[in-house]
């Protein structure tokens, strides 16, 4: 045994021993080499003349050994990234795949400021990636990009694409296509065909030059009403090919249809000559559109009806002219992306795009005729199909020419009357609204009225965005919160597809992150379980996202539907929890968030604990740390 131990010790290679052994080995090799050379020189009878190579080396003219050239010194995907950069695309969301590694490598490595504008955002599901782009576009009025993988990635993303299309939201979708890959089921001749019926436009370029032009066109098509997601299929070869000295195609911004100058002149005349004009504002395209309509309202002295509690990009809710105004005897009502009694300017709807997209005549509900029955008897005479946002500045210009001093004085007087009346109405309504929130104030589970009221206290002084649809939490923000920004409330899902909220909220978080804004997501429990991975994206990319769980432990709408059905059939009304509730076991969302790296607390069923939790949550998100508060709530 003793011998064995000694032997082990002797052979043990310590750090010092390793260095020593290495040195000895080097010395041995060197000495052997010298010995061999000496032997060789001894064998030669005369010294050979230097070769050409030796002479070149001696005068310093040395060439390194030849190695295979890189596949591309200026890969095509670098130019694709530059194209996206020039289009001011801030983010590209993707779940990694084997058909766009060329493009992904360029996003994260190309240029002097790699991985910035666009920045690569890691999504844990393709549907989440598209939802993020959906939420982002609703905040900023412009697209971000998404990368999807072949047939399977596109299919994962398809429901989210469908919703974004129905919601007329611009998104640029870049689909990697590897036609030589061994997984033939992940490629197809026409991948875009999978989602063609619910995308605005697509292209499958044959070469790099075409690909770059197609990306530009994808942007333009996405941004031109009716807006929507667009696709460019990018073959792997095109991403990786050598671009050489190819330059980017010259970019021409989209031409968006507006009303004609003569139409604008007529509208301006009506606004100038009316005693009590009114403007109904729906959902415009961009924050600039919101600014334009404020200018028009202030110039015309019209009272304004807003849609800011239903959709993004509408008129600021607490603007002094927003409200019914001095009286409801409106003698001229102009609708901007909304019905107006006398004249409406509305963008073309999705039906106008269906004839060249729904080639298999699937006939999705929202593109079948009639699309949506008009809410009023449209004469058609004064209704104009054109983009309202593009038309507003032309109306404003014409109106300026029609206002003399006496008219301006009348308008100033009218604005004061509107302001006073709107204040009076607002304060009266507010008292009623606030009083209604007292209902069940101290009850447990937490009342949704209290949830929204307490939360408002902590966000009202911030630049905030309410990113989630609120129909399932009874819309308590309406009348209580002030929706004054283009992104104050982002509206509904698009097509009612569940699983949208956390992804869209992460997208809103991307828009907010570098703009000192915070995002509030009143998150339904059922919805979160579809694709909770966006919580991780929020943590990883440091998004200022506060998620407040409306945890009623069930798919509550369906509880009610099923109940009604059983009542009609006169049986089993006590079995409605089957298939509609999330019990046994309850889901712990605070722990779920924690697992994804999001700070969290809860479940909270004591309403007295809300205020402190919200305070902590807001403090965290202001520092770029997403936060989740799990609250056990009343069903509605």
């Amino acid at each position: 045994m003793g011998k064995s131990k000694k032997s082990v010790k002797k052979n043990k290679l310590t750090r010092r021993g390793f260095i020593g052994a290495s040195a000895s080995a080097s010395t041995l090799l060197a000495s052997r080499s010298i010995t061999a050379k000496q032997k060789n020189s001894q064998q030669s009878t005369e010294i050979p003349a230097p070769s050409t190579e030796q002479l070149q080396r001696d005068v310093g003219n040395v060439r390194p050994p030849s190695v295979p050239e890189r596949a591309a010194k200026r890969p095509g995907s670098d130019l694709m990234v530059q194209t996206l950069r020039d289009l001011d695309i801030e983010f590209v969301a993707s779940n990694p795949a084997s058909s766009f590694e060329g493009l992904q490598e360029s996003i994260i490595n190309y240029g002097n400021s790699p991985n910035k504008s666009p920045e690569l955002i890691t999504a844990l599901h393709e549907e989440s990636a598209v939802d993020m782009a959906h939420g982002y576009a609703k905040c900023e009025g412009k697209p971000m990009a998404v990368m999807l993988h072949g047939t399977v990635g596109v299919q994962h993303a398809s429901m989210a694409i469908y919703q974004a299309y129905h919601d007329q939201t611009p998104i640029i979708i870049l689909v990697g296509r590897d036609n030589t890959f061994f997984r033939q089921e992940q490629t197809a001749n026409d991948i875009a065909g999978i989602v063609r019926a619910f995308t605005k436009w697509d292209a499958q370029p044959k070469n790099l030059e075409e690909a770059l032009a197609n990306i530009q066109q994808a942007y333009n098509e996405a941004m031109t009403p009716p807006r929507g997601p667009t696709l460019v299929i990018l073959d792997t070869e095109i991403q990786k090919e050598e671009a050489g000295d190819m330059s980017l195609p010259i970019y021409t911004p989209p031409k968006i249809s507006s009303i004609s100058n003569s139409q604008a002149m007529k509208i301006a005349e009506k606004l100038a000559n009316s005693n009590n004009p009114r403007i109904n504002v729906g959902r415009l395209r961009t924050p600039n559109g919101v600014k334009s309509v404020v200018t028009l309202a202030e110039l015309s002295g019209a009272s304004v009806r807003t849609s800011a509690t239903n959709v993004n990009m509408s008129f600021p809710e607490r603007h002094p002219q927003c409200g019914p105004g001095k009286s409801d005897d409106y003698d001229f009502v102009l609708g901007l992306e909304m019905d107006g009694k006398h004249t409406s300017i509305k963008s073309p709807n999705l039906l106008s795009n269906a004839h060249n997209r729904d080639l298999n005549e699937i006939g999705f509900g929202f593109i079948r005729k009639p699309v949506t029955p008009p809410r009023r008897n449209l004469s058609g005479e004064n209704d104009i199909v054109a983009d309202a946002e593009e038309s507003i500045p032309i109306i404003t210009q014409n109106l300026k020419h029609k206002l003399n001093t006496s008219k301006q004085k009348k308008i100033e007087k009218r604005i004061i009357e509107h302001t006073n009346k709107n204040r009076e109405i607002y304060l009266n309504n507010l008292k009623t609204t606030v009083d209604s929130k007292r209902k069940g104030w101290n009850g447990s589970p937490v009342s949704l009225g209290r949830l929204y009221s307490e939360l408002w206290r902590y966000i009202k002084d911030e630049d905030w965005c309410l990113s989630s649809p609120t129909v399932f939490s009874s819309r308590h923000h309406v009348g209580l919160w002030d929706h004054n920004k283009p992104y104050s409330y982002l509206g509904m899902h698009g097509a009612g597809g569940i699983g949208y909220c956390i992804g869209a909220s992460a997208g809103a978080g991307l828009a907010a992150r570098d703009r000192k804004r915070i995002v509030v997501n009143i998150q339904c429990d059922g919805d979160l379980n579809y694709a909770p991975g966006s919580l991780w994206t929020a943590a990883h990319h440091k998004l200022p996202l506060l998620t407040v769980m409306h945890n009623n432990r069930g798919y509550h709408q369906e509880v009610m539907y099923l109940h009604y059905m059983a009542g009609v059939r006169g049986r089993g009304t006590d079995r409605m929890h089957i298939g509609t509730t999330l019990r046994e076991p309850f889901i712990n969302y605070a722990k779920m968030a924690e697992a994804y790296g999001v700070e969290s607390e809860g479940p909270i069923d004591d309403p007295e604990k809300l205020a402190a939790a919200f305070k902590r949550g807001i403090a965290a998100v202001k520092e770029g740390r997403p936060y989740l508060i799990d609250i056990i709530t009343e069903p509605r």
Binding site: R438, S447, E454, S474, H563, A566, G570, T573, D574
Partner: protein, 142 residues
């Protein structure tokens, strides 16, 4: 040997237990043994009226006309729509005597009558008082 309960009865009792177990966080010990609360939860009344009668369609404080008396309440339960709707509906369901007998319905009625909502006044709720105060301040400063 006669079993105390039939197989069907056992299954029924187990299912009641399972449902009540799920509802456990919302039940106080005192209420759990009343038939009214059991039926209120089993029949899903909570889904629209809230666990405390303060939901979207409140019942607390006798605000609903149907709670005027027991007979009106029963008549209301029995006379709901019984025609199969084309589209899903979240309206008040019909409760025929087959799914909810008179005794259980009366127990629910008595339980609902116990719902009292006495929230603090606005002046005593800082979150709400602030909203009113801020609005008045901002409009008077304009």
């Amino acid at each position: 040997m006669n079993a105390l309960y039939t197989k069907t009865q056992k299954r029924f009792l187990i299912s009641i237990f399972v449902v009540l177990y799920g509802m456990f966080p919302y039940l106080s010990a005192a209420d759990s043994d009343t038939n009214g609360v059991k039926v209120y939860l089993e029949q899903g009344c909570y889904s629209c009226h809230g666990y405390n009668g303060t939901g979207r369609y409140p019942l607390a404080n006798d605000v609903s006309g149907i709670m005027f008396d027991e007979n009106i309440f029963l008549a209301f339960l029995r006379q709901r729509a019984d025609i199969s709707p084309t589209s899903a509906s979240n309206r008040m369901p019909n409760y025929s005597v087959e799914v909810l007998n008179d005794e259980d319905a009366k127990d629910v009625y008595r339980y609902i009558k116990t719902f009292i909502d006495k929230p603090p006044e606005i002046d005593d709720i800082p979150a709400l008082k602030e909203i009113i105060d801020n609005a008045q301040r901002s409009t008077s400063n304009d």
